[in-house]
Every structure is written in structure tokens, then in C-alpha cells.
Symmetry: C2
Subunit: 322 residues, 2 copies
């Protein structure tokens, strides 16, 4: 049932071994139990790349690594992340995610919403049990607040062009903050200094932003598409991605975009909006921004000890390159 695309870790064998062990631990943790536990487990094991746990595990390797400390925190963050995904799916009425039938399509909204709540609570409970300071506990719960705020702000801002800074704020809330928590709590698990944990927080935030920008590119690039949502899905939902934001500097594009948003959404028009954005150079512009963000991630890493932990974190950054 494991769908972990573990070949992505092949070039860093130590991280690969850790990720395999982590997967086994997840499996033990979510084995058996009640219906809701089974539903939660089903969701967790639908896969994904486990980038957030990998970041926690990698950051913990920067100093005094132990699985006993890092795994529960990594698990907690994956549970929280999965909770947000299942609630997203309920909202979007998504029928599939990662190529599989979503839980709400399978079991209905009732099970899906409560399974999300269950996973959220489970994640926060796990964090509480993992010995983090009460302050960090408040930080992770606060991160969930920020994610919700970001999601709602995106929803309220749909079909409207945000400024570049507003766009950045939104992706940092929506995606950045959980990576920031993953990295800095990993630092905690590895007994790093307060200062280093702060550095890791910034690294994670920047990484999350880059991750989202990469997602924006993929949403508009047929060649990059794997399983999941159709090309241009964000446009269809009125979410302004970075390529669209750049293309909309062009007056004519802005006009077409507003026309698209104010009429019935025609898939053919999405294709032409994507083509036009490419012709206007917006995809290249976005890729430049992505490159700049990943370079900045690597620069931040220079402040941290040179060891296998850093090799792992560099590998994670490398995964964002297109």
C-alpha cells in the first residue's frame, strides 16, 4: 500500500534509509483500531513524497540525531498536513487526489471532516508528547491558524489579482509555515541552538514558498503534469498563480482574464490563457523567481553546520528545481 516515491531519495542513501524506517513507524502507529483510525491511516498511506517529515529528519541530522525524537515530530507534522488535505478535498468536492478516490467521495463528508479533525488533534497530541517546549506547542497550533487564514484569504481573493507581496504572504501562510515548523522542530529534535532553529524556520518558510511557486508552474505546464488535477485547475477555481500574476502585467491579458472570470469557465479559454501567458514570458519569469528562491534556500543553509544533515537539506532543495 506504500506509495512512497522513494526513488527520489536514491542519491542520499542515509536519508532514504531514514524515510523507509519512518514509513514503517507510521504504519505501526496507525495500525488497526476504530473506523476513524482506519480512515486516517488510509489517508496517510495514500502517499505523497513526505517532504515535511523528510525536512524534520534532515534538520535533526544537523547535530544530535535520534529517531526517537525526530520521528514522532515528523509524524505529527505529516498528520496535520494530511488533515488540511482532506478538508481541502471536501471543500473542492474533489473526487480524486493523487489518482485515488478521495475519502469524502468514498465515505461521505461526515467521515471526511471528522477524520480531518481527528488527524489534526492526533498531530497536536503527538507534538505535545514529544517533549517540545510549550512555546513550540503554541507555535504549531498557531501555524494551523495561519494555514486556515491563508486558505480563507485565497478563497475570498479568488477571481481577483493580488499584488506580488500579497501573493507571497498568501503562499507563505498556506504552504510556507508548515515547512518552517518542519525544519525548525527538526532542529529542536537535533538539539540545535535557538539561533539555528530560527535559521531553519526561515529556510523552511522560503522552501515552502518555492514549493508553492513550483506547484504554480506545474499547474500550467502539461509536460510537468503527473497524476492529480487537470492543467489550469487553479485558473478554473479562480486562484491566481504566479505565472498568471506576471502575465496580467499585460493590459490585454488582464482584460481576457477578467472576461474569463466573469463568464462561464470554458476549458478552451484556459488553454488559450496558458498559451498566452507563456508567450508573454510569464512562465520564464516564474521559473526565474523559483531559481532565485532555491538559491536563497541554499544560501541560508550556508549558516548551518556542514554535515550529512545539510546534504539532506540540499537534496530537498534540489527536488524543487525544474
Amino acid at each position: 500500500m506504500i506509495r512512497l516515491e522513494d526513488s527520489i531519495w536514491d542519491s542520499v542513501p542515509l536519508l532514504k534509509a531514514e524515510m523507509m524506517a519512518f514509513e514503517q513507524m507510521l504504519r505501526d502507529e496507525f495500525a488497526g483500531g476504530s473506523f476513524i483510525q482506519a480512515a486516517a491511516s488510509e489517508l496517510i498511506f495514500r502517499g505523497g513524497k513526505r517532504l515535511r517529515p523528510a525536512m524534520t529528519i534532515a534538520a535533526a541530522h544537523l547535530n544530535q540525531y535520534s529517531q526517537d525524537k525526530a520521528f514522532p515530530v515528523a509524524m505529527a507534522i505529516e498528520a496535520i498536513h494530511t488533515a488540511t488535505l482532506v478538508h481541502d478535498d471536501v471543500i473542492d468536492h474533489a473526487e480524486t487526489r493523487r489518482g485515488e478516490t478521495t475519502i469524502h467521495a468514498l465515505h461521505g463528508n461526515h467521515i471526511a471532516i471528522y477524520t480531518g479533525d481527528f488527524l489534526l488533534a492526533r498531530g497536536l497530541k503527538q507534538i505535545a508528547k514529544s517533549g517540545l517546549a510549550i512555546n513550540d506547542m503554541a507555535k504549531i497550533a498557531g501555524a494551523v491558524e495561519v494555514i486556515c487564514t491563508g486558505e480563507v484569504s485565497q478563497y475570498l481573493g479568488r477571481n481577483k489579482l493580488p499584488g506580488y507581496r500579497a501573493y507571497l504572504r498568501r503562499i507563505m501562510s498556506k504552504t510556507g509555515i508548515l515547512f518552517a515548523a518542519s525544519a525548525s522542530f527538526g532542529g529542536y529534535c537535533g538539539d540545535l541552538s535557538e539561533e539555528q532553529m530560527k535559521t531553519l524556520w526561515h529556510f523552511g518558510m522560503r522552501f515552502g514558498a518555492a514549493f508553492q511557486i513550483r506547484d504554480d508552474i506545474i499547474d500550467m505546464d502539461e509536460n510537468q503534469k503527473t497524476a492529480g488535477k487537470p492543467t489550469g485547475n487553479d485558473l478554473l477555481e479562480g486562484i491566481i498563480t504566479l505565472p498568471v500574476l506576471f502575465a496580467a502585467a499585460d493590459k490585454n491579458y488582464r482584460h481576457l482574464l477578467n472576461q474569463f472570470f466573469s463568464s462561464k469557465r470554458d476549458p478552451e479559454k484556459i488553454k488559450s490563457l496558458i498559451r498566452l501567458a507563456r508567450e508573454l514570458g510569464a512562465m520564464d519569469q516564474t521559473k526565474d523567481i523559483l531559481n532565485r528562491q532555491t538559491q536563497r534556500c541554499n544560501q541560508i543553509l550556508e549558516q548551518l553546520p556542514d554535515n550529512e544533515g545539510k546534504t539532506m537539506l540540499r537534496k530537498l532543495v534540489q527536488l524543487l528545481e525544474i
Copy 2:
């Protein structure tokens, strides 16, 4: 905007004063801010009796009371409770709660689900910041897991008769555990002993069960109905209440019930199922159980110090009497 039915506290002036001050503190805490904060605030101020905060405040009065310790915990529990209500409403597609348009009817599922998540996170953050031991932090997150498990178990068990013990387990998960947390964390705020906190936990659990049984009676009693859901709403949703469980000891009733569940739900049939349950003595039987539960609550209170805290807790028990 305050809908607090504060006349219920008239007979215990000190508790009334506390509840008014608590309401003001809630108001300050949830003032202004982002859209999601405003939505959360809207939900919080739709009222309800604030029984859970009252229980925390009352329990804290058993020894060393201070608002600074008790209010944040009481607020956290009210936030968590409100989160579960809003998710319930999304699931039930409820258009109104407590006589007002529900948030998902007003703003859509998107805002409603994320506002629920936001409130859940806010509550847990607040608990983390209020100095409770990390163990208690895990306990409250665990309580949320239990609530979700109870809700899902009720949903999966709809249209089916549970045993009496399974019924009790379900209402303790669904309703008991948050009252148990309210009472025992109140004890923590009031610097009570571990032993006393345990006693308060049992008290809260028993109180929550009684509260739910009372709700079951109200669901089937037109004279008891105030605002909110129509009489027999639980039956309509396939939820077996205690009067129905007792009535179903009768073979003929069981037959009619199964017939009702397996056909299109006719409101006229609900009326006759309610009437028949009454004729079979099931309402009286349920009231007996409720009385026994509230007596047991009062017995548990005898183990705790005799002071104004206990007067407040007795008042809470008294509110459950029908």
C-alpha cells in the same frame, strides 16, 4: 450581540458575575482581525449557555481561584466546542443553529470548515499557553480525537439499535469527555490535587452523559423544545436516543422503527413513534436515568471541598433537571 442566557445564573451571583466577566474577555480576545477571525467571533457569540466554561470556572473556585488562570482555559474549551458545532453543521447541511443562519449557509462550506479548524487550533494553542502540563495538553488533544471517534461511531451506527452500554460509551465520547476536561482543567487552574482533578474528571464525564440524556428527552418532547431543531430530529437522522432505545425493548416498536428507517422518512410517522414511546413508558424511564445520573453527580461532589466552588457545580447539575 451577546446571547448569553445569563438569567440562568441569577441564583448564584458570584458565578453570574464571573460569567459576565468571561463574556467580556471572550469579546476582547476575538475582536477585530481577519475575515476568519471575524467568522470565528461570529460563531462564538451566537451564544449558548457556556456550560463548559462555567464548569471550568466553578471547579477552579474549589480552591485557589484566579481569572487569569481559569479564563484562558475556559475560553480554549469553548473554542474547541464551537469548532465541533460548526463542523457538525456543515455535515448536517443545517441551515440554522440556535435560531440563526449557520455560517456555512451564510459563507459556504469553505469558510465554515476552515473556521472550525481555526477554532480548534486556537483552542489548543490557548491551552498550550495557559501553563497546563504537557500531559494535559495531550489529554485535551486526545479528547478531540475521542469526540471525532464518537461522532463517526454514531454516524456509522445510525438506523441501528445499539446496546445500552454502547449507547453510554457513545454519549461519553461525544459529549462527556469535553465536560470532563472542562471540570478537571478547572481543578488544575484552582490548584487542586491530582486526586481531586481525577474526581472532577469523573464528575464532568457523568455530567456530560446526563446532559446528553437530557438532550435526548428534549428531542422528543414538544413542550421542552425551544429554538433549534424540530422535535424528533434525531430519529429523522437515524440517531437512536435513549427513549427510543428503551421503547425498542417492545417487539412491536422495534418493528415500526425498522420500518421507519428502511422507508422514506415521514414526519407523521415520527410523531407516532414519539407518542408510542411515551405510552410504553420510555420517557419516564429515561427521566429516571437522568435523575440517577444527576444524583450521582451530586454524590461525586461530596468528595470535594464545601465552598462556593461546590455551590456553583451544584447549580450546574441543577440545570440538568427536568
